[in-house]
Amino acid sequence: AQSVTQLDSQVPVFEEAPVELRCNYSSSVSVYLFWYVQYPNQGLQLLLKYLSGSTLVESINGFEAEFNKSQTSFHLRKPSVHISDTAEYFCAVRVMNRDDKIIFGKGTRLHILP
């Protein structure tokens, strides 16, 4: 069975400071890794994904994540955060399976301090 652990439930960070949101996964089969963002009172939006190839993936708004197979991690980073990044971030895995379900972590709330 697959599982996702997000080590921090909340991360406060000052505006323009760097941030890292941690994610570890467990799986006995190959996984595909995702980060989703949920802004207040909204649904989920895909932020970035790792399917294959380069282990470093980037989003259009400055986030990046690196797939580390040996450490079973997929941490999300941004070198300089903005107030608009205030949201909840979910790490997720998918596997090749009949039911095609997405397994989410519990989420990390990013709180930007002025």
């Binding site: 997720a92 095609d100 997405i102 989410f104 972590g105 519990k106």
Partner: protein, 114 residues
């Protein structure tokens, strides 16, 4: 193009009642999945339908049921509502099966059971 649309956006039900939540996928998408997001937690997989066939069911009681119609829209039904069913219910659609196909989420239906 319209995204995934869910209705209603909010509703309040009494314990023991029945509820039906509706989801219209993005045009051309044949797969619909349902997730339950309890406050402070990540979304949990409930059902997945592809081409009107149930492909997966999460660890939810039989009070939860769903179906997909010929136009690929979907309904989630919950009988004998409990206080613990209070949550944000998310629908996701994708054009096909598998992790390579991006899942797009609706804004969700917030169900409150009193």
């Amino acid at each position: 193009d319209a995204g995934v649309t869910q209705s209603p956006t909010h509703l309040i039900k009494t314990r023991g009642q029945h509820v039906t939540l509706r989801c219209s996928p993005i045009s051309g998408h044949k797969s619909v999945s349902w997730y339950q997001q309890v406050l402070g937690q990540g979304p949990q997989f409930i059902f997945q339908y592809y081409e009107k066939e149930e492909r997966g069911r999460g660890n939810f009681p039989d009070r939860f049921s769903a179906r997909q119609f010929p136009n690929y829209s979907s309904e989630l039904n919950v009988n004998a509502l409990l206080l613990g069913d209070s949550a944000l219910y998310l629908c996701a659609s994708s054009w096909g099966q598998g992790p390579m196909t991006e899942a797009f989420f609706g804004q969700g239906t917030r169900l409150t059971v009193v």
